[in-house]
Symmetry: D2
Subunit: 347 residues, 4 copies
């Protein structure tokens, strides 16, 4: 049994970790920390966990956390990097669900996140936690950078095309929409029900922090620079990311949708959490609600020279807590699917 | 391993049964029938079940169903009573999620449901599937009438008060609201998103079919006639029932909210799926989303002579498919909680 | 042309006032104040008003406001009472959309609102702004206490019954639900979309500030004390209040629903903003979205001894800004319907 | 006073026409037809119109309609073309809110709409009702083809760029999302609240009927062929279209976002219903809810070679009924803004 702690358990990714770990057969949650709610029982803040979690929130204490096998950081950007070195030194493995270890170029990271990095020396060791790309490195990793929600949906949709050089890497477009839980559980006028229900809008079109993360990883796949236009949107719902990806097919890729479909099915054969739907499908975000699955479908409209990839995840699961548990399973040699087997909640 | 079938697997209670049974350790789903969709794979209609269910919908065939241990009817009212006698004769046990076996008075049933009963001789044997009242009778039962969604929420809230004669049974009021999934998955203008989102309304205030069911069961608890005013509402959401119950405290029940709280805690001690929250709480329907729990909280506003009971369930789980699985667990001597252990999905 | 100002223009009732006044033929908006947003253009905060309002938010300045004919206070409780005396002294008329002048008993007010009243001497002069009761007093009034949203919906539903002594005033029950805009536009975790969408809950069941206001006014109608149990609920939507009212018919009121229907139709004959629907109807809150109408429908379930009244309003219009404009029209001798003629927005 | 009729008044565009015409100062609604609901009062089907419309639905009768000045067709595709010739022959002017007269190439129309055209001889006379392009032709037009909802949002966003040759017309991408009212008020499982709330999906990615309409009009603007990839999405809301448009800037258009902003402001100067927001804005669909406005904002992410245009409309207003009234105003020489002056409904 792997003993685990969650730092920052009051946000949506934190409580989603608690929901998943509550039924995980091989990971036992021993500590949940929250500065603001220390002393309060978790199930007082989240009555949905009554009967599933008897722990109180604790102060983030290095002594307590240092006794565990694994610590998840479900904290704002800039927190994990403060505590990770000491925990690693004590032999605790770390998964950061925020962005502290996602970008290899520390200057690029500082520019986008507006702070100095506290432990740049760890960036090289940190494994980017997208199992569909880095599965082997994740086995046994000490420090894992859990991918962002948009990056997960966008990468899984573009990867086969870029790895196989089937599209022009200089003309990539990702138009994606997220539910409001992606904005976190903070007191904020902008995410009140009255501000965002019954409405849709784009945001951060001029530059979203997930852009450098996505471009870094897509460049790895393409074996060279990529140029991505990434426009996030806020959709009037709680969970779910839907990414609509556009790419121009390479001149010699004119062999049709069947060939592209085979490429994706082959790339993701055996992947437990990527579902390549029949060509022409339209994945709904609700079809992955509460589940660690990414559903993908391919289109080549009017047989013209562009491919459209649709990619849907639950931002709190495959886009955050579920992928973190998938990574934990790999790190500790558990069944990669452990704790992640329940079907989505539909309707 | 109990072999089971679902008749009428395309509606919301049917697909919810599939979701729950997909991870049930002791019940194996062997057949799903749907006249309208026979031949189609279940996961083509419900992509959320891709990877969880490989069965196609079949015609409802007595031969196939007759080989099973258990058949769930997730069908409209009037269907189960047509097939139940033959299945029972073959030794198959039956749980009807509709209303065919809920009302003991067959004339009363006919008046409210507008049809003749096909097998009134089975009404006496049928066990009303509210485990909190009929647990012992459910163990080993052949035929179970799964309660309605509103009746479950309303009864669990009123039962302790009536059993202990703490309130006036002639002045009961239940104002309840349901999400739209209670209206089923039928092509219907009245439940289009554009008709019901961002709006609330009462419906069937002059008489809802769940009234006689509730009054029958509350009369059993009270040991005499009750008079209930029941007003259902449609809330702009998919899942959840919230019942707000009003009753006048008996003259000698003036001992305060603490006494009422103890009454409820004592009545439901050990119940795996009833959660009596601290007095003064306000259960949210989302706090039971996807779970088989009924959360209850008590209030005695301004210390006056009325008690207000708040009761929340997921109409598709404790109000339908989850309670059916709980009943199946009891009927076959399984752990009553089997397959029903996952926490609610919040947010 | 009546010159008007709005103090506290950034909240939902404030912006609703701006929306209505933007097309009012006889009232001209001259000033909008907001301490927090002074200097910012109104349409920068509310792009929906681009092209409709060129004013910036100003500091609340007595000099500027003192030049106007009318000032609306769309502020938190306790603000209007600080400024009203000075404005009245300058000849400015005042409508407070908050609770400062709603309760005649200043001690009762202090108990529920937790503060000392700044100008108790004005309570007697203040006219309670429910035109269906106080129309004559409102004509020419200097100071109007605009009713609360729940009180408007509940009173309009109960008034005919109490005025005509058709029900028992000691057993009144109001179960009401409001959209989230009733909670205002404050940064608050509790009203985030992710906290309240797809969920329903009761709140403040042990005591909501609107209770004494409602009881005061119903007692006036009944000509004696009333006992009301009032349970508010939060519905997952932005606008709308639906009140479901229960009362026990007096012994001599057994003349049926037709008689009750005639009572309501007669009581509200000629009322421009109360719509008594055919008996047995179920008003939807969306049917009054954006409009100043209260729709009412009567039921007498199963012909038993209880009457159920359904009452629906838009909490921001008839429950706040619209009623304030209706009151302003009366105060200044304008057409009572001026500015309030547009149909609701459906779907 | 222009006398008008609405054929097909039961759908969402029909009732939206009724809502707008109810307060139009110069157009009087004289007849509303609906085969399915003939004889029923309009306000029985739409209680929101109680007090605003006393008409019953009538059978679509050429005699009655033939006496009017103007008939709006809010009918399915293929209906208006059956009745338009006879009405025009009687001197009645016609606005078709469906697609019968939008495509000049009758073969292309037949391919996409799957039927023969009933009056191809009228296609040349029909004026495409986008006032921002065809205002002069609309003045006095007899037959107007009201644009589709997506085409309105997409064209207004692309037009300035194509007319000024600032982008590559062969690489246009439009990723747009619509609320569910775009799918109409038909009994349909696919648009039930339980199927689409809390979810987002693309649809018709392989080919939506609005594609040829958009390409035809953009080609007019570009003065040559265009190649557009158009991916519609269904958003979990009732009203609103948000279009996110991507285009590659021409080599000589590298003069930055300020220049593009000036281009749009100049193109739409004086347009009563196009609002070019400050560069870098993010229009919300709710900011135009119930209004005839199209809000547009420009971005040039990271200063790279692509422009992103955001365009938001209310699909039932500027995308349907509101634009139809704007066209009617032009056709009859009325103030173009008549009946369309109310601010959007926010929140």
């Amino acid at each position: 049994m792997v003993s685990a702690g969650v730092v920052g358990g009051t946000g949506y990714t934190g409580v989603e970790l608690l929901r998943i770990l509550a039924v995980h057969p091989d990971i036992e949650l021993r500590a949940i920390t929250s500065r603001g709610n220390a002393g309060q029982r978790v199930d007082a803040l989240y009555p949905s966990l009554r009967g599933h979690c008897e722990l109180p929130f604790a102060e983030p204490d290095e002594g307590v956390l240092g006794e565990l096998d694994l610590v998840f950081f479900a904290t704002p950007n800039g927190t994990a990097m403060q505590m990770a070195p000491a925990l690693l030194a004590r032999g605790v493995r770390v998964i950061d669900l925020a962005a502290d270890f996602r970008i290899r170029d520390v200057d690029l990271w500082s520019r986008w996140y507006g702070m100095q990095h506290a432990c740049p020396e760890l960036l090289e060791e940190a494994v980017y936690g997208l199992p569909e790309v880095h599965r082997e490195a994740l086995r046994g990793a000490r420090l894992v950078a859990n991918p962002g929600c948009y990056p997960t949906a966008v990468q899984l949709g573009f990867l086969p095309l870029l790895e196989a050089a089937r599209v022009d890497p200089s003309r990539l477009i990702a138009s994606a929409a997220s539910g409001a839980s992606g904005a976190g559980r903070a007191a904020n006028v902008a995410t009140l029900l009255c501000e965002i229900s019954e409405s849709l809008k784009a945001y951060a079109v001029d530059g979203h922090r997930h852009l450098p993360e996505i471009e870094q990883c897509l460049a790895d796949a393409a074996g060279g620079a990529v140029d991505l236009t990434f426009t996030p949107h806020l959709a009037p719902m709680t969970r779910g990311i839907h990414a609509t990806l556009f790419a121009e097919l390479s001149a010699d890729a004119g062999d049709g949708i069947e060939s592209l479909q085979r490429l994706f099915e082959s790339r993701y054969a055996g992947e437990p959490f990527v579902d390549v739907m029949p060509a022409g499908s339209h994945p709904e975000t609700r079809s992955v609600r509460g589940a660690n699955t990414c559903r993908i479908a391919l289109h080549r409209p009017q047989g013209r020279g562009r491919v459209v990839v649709l990619s849907a995840i639950d931002n709190l699961v495959k886009g955050a807590a579920g992928q973190a548990v998938q990574n934990a399973n790999l790190m500790f040699g558990l069944d990669e699917r452990a704790g992640l087997g329940a079907p989505p909640l539909v309707p």
